[in-house]
């Protein structure tokens, strides 16, 4: 099968995701409102409670809003990843996942294309957020708007493949509340999104380790450093490893031989 065929397939999958995104305006709106509520209300209330000292990549004292911005960007991607995994479960019930899987193009390619399509949509959301966040004086160096891109791609891929793996592994992912309680909240709160890790270490050591090994922390920190055109080797390697693990698991989850698809009777 030639390269053009793969390319056409990839374009088609991305286009479909983009069209769905355009048609579901509420989804875009809520994806934008959510982090803005955190920024406008939570951060405003918390800034006096929490003092952030100077930690890399920051070079001066920063307001709390600036600190949590990368965490909120990662949150946009987390929600997007979980939402597209949820839509995958919904799709499968609707059968359109089946339509994709019976394409003669190899399944791993279809799944990765679908993931990248989701990442693309999440990046659009992130840039829209960054534009509005500039009203709060969250203005990274201009180069940051470009250097954040690779971090967004890899973290989007990681969170998307985690979602895809969950969609293949969990029997009933019927409502979003379950995903919120058991995936999104624990991942978001036990990370460096809202408070720096050293603060957590002061309070509880075991919680520090939970946060430290939480894949979401790696997404947040990679985004934080790249937003200031810096790179943190430790977090960069970590996020790549997590991405490979989740990708591998999700492709395994949809493998026709081993897969979890058949445990569900193909429904």
């Amino acid at each position: 099968m030639s390269f053009t065929i793969y390319l056409r397939c990839f374009n088609g999958i991305v286009l479909r995701e983009a069209l769905r995104f355009v048609h579901q305006k509420e989804r875009f709106f809520s994806a934008l409102v959510r982090p803005l509520v955190w920024l406008g209300i939570f951060a405003a209330g918390f800034r006096s409670v929490l003092g952030v000292s100077i930690i890399p990549p920051y070079e001066t004292y920063i307001p709390y809003e600036v600190y949590i911005a990368p965490g909120l960007i990662a949150m946009i991607q987390l929600f997007n990843g979980m939402q597209s995994s949820l839509s995958m479960v919904y799709d499968r019930e609707m059968g359109s996942m089946k339509t994709m899987l019976v394409s003669p193009i190899p399944r791993w390619f279809l799944l990765i294309s679908k993931l990248l399509a989701g990442v693309f949509v999440s990046i659009l959301q992130v840039y829209a957020f960054l534009v509005i966040a500039s009203l709060w004086d969250i203005i990274p160096p201009i180069s940051g708007y470009i250097t954040i891109l690779p971090a967004l791609i890899i973290s989007g891929l990681m969170l998307g493949s985690l979602g895809m793996f969950l969609s293949s592994a969990i029997k009933q992912l019927e409502n979003f509340a379950g995903v919120m309680n058991f995936v999104i909240f624990p991942m978001f709160f036990a990370s460096s999104a809202l408070y720096p890790l050293w603060k957590i270490e002061e309070t509880s050591e075991w919680l520090y380790y939970v946060c430290f090994y939480n894949p979401f922390t790696y997404a947040v920190e990679s985004i934080r450093f790249s937003l200031y055109s810096q790179i943190n080797i430790e977090y960069s390697i970590g996020i790549v490893i997590f991405t490979f693990i989740f990708l591998f698991l999700s492709i395994l989850g949809y493998d026709p031989g081993r897969g979890n698809l058949q445990k569900k009777g193909g429904k």
Partner: protein
């Protein structure tokens, strides 16, 4: 019997469109399929007749490689579904039991998406989509969102979609369930005409006995086993009954 009399495209008539040999499948302890064998030739319209839960959907999932068969072999035009899945899947068009169109996208957007999954170029896709959509008389609906279409129209769009990449084997899983009599008849006639005209091999799964016409090939399946297969007339004669309904009831053990 089949509707094909001449040699078909590049395929030799001796090649089966679909050849299933001794396929069994378990879900845990539950035996969904038990040594199922069946054969469809190019141009055959074959009805897979069975009650709900007989194993029809499982069989479809194995043919389309949604998951692998535990035992036996499935070949599509000589290509093994497991070892030569790319070649095998290229020949199949599928209409699943559940609706699979994107409701928020237009008919054309849905069909474009499908074309891209088969690597068809934009220009080519446009021609093929126009052709298939004209065949089901829905040209004026192309720009409309699928949500605004009736159940019967959606099904017809799904059949058109299954044919865009010009498959040689069309698989339909209970395609008429939930539709009114008019739509059912329209869809049934459409597929039977395609089968005759284009020498398309068709496997039509249903539990609706009135969808079977005289002379057609029927495979009766119950609790994962093929109870009988062959011509309607042959089965009726063999079971010493008056018609296929009685033959089916007798074989499956339904008492009225």
């Amino acid at each position: 019997m089949g509707c094909g009399h001449q040699s078909v495209n590049n395929f030799n008539m001796s090649t089966s469109a679909l050849s299933i040999k001794n396929v069994s499948h378990n879900f845990g302890d539950f035996k969904a399929l038990d040594k199922v064998s069946l054969e469809i030739r190019p141009g055959d319209f074959t009805v897979l007749l069975g009650l709900n839960g007989a194993g029809k959907t499982t069989l479809y999932s194995l043919i389309t490689r949604l998951y692998n068969n535990n035992s036996g072999s499935i070949e599509i035009y000589g290509n093994n579904v497991r070892s030569e899945s790319v070649k095998a899947l290229r020949h199949i068009g599928v209409v699943f039991q559940q609706p699979t169109l994107d409701l928020d996208l237009s008919v054309r957007e849905n069909l474009n998406y499908h074309s891209s999954l088969h690597g068809i170029s934009k220009l080519d896709a446009r021609k093929k989509i126009d052709k298939e959509i004209a065949r089901i008389n829905l040209n004026d609906q192309l720009k409309k969102k699928v949500r605004s279409l009736s159940g019967g129209q959606r099904r017809r769009v799904e059949i058109a979609r299954a044919l865009i990449h010009e498959p040689k084997l069309l698989l339909l899983d209970e395609p008429t369930v939930g539709l009114d009599i008019g739509s059912r008849q329209l869809i049934l006639n459409h597929v039977k005409t395609l089968c005759k005209k284009n020498k398309l091999a068709v496997l039509w799964a249903t539990h609706l006995i009135d969808e079977i016409d005289k002379g057609e090939k029927v495979v009766i399946i119950d609790k994962g086993k093929v109870l009988d297969s062959g011509n309607v007339e042959k089965i009726v004669k063999k079971t010493k009954t008056k018609n296929i309904r009685e033959a089916f009831n007798k074989l499956v053990g339904i008492k009225i």
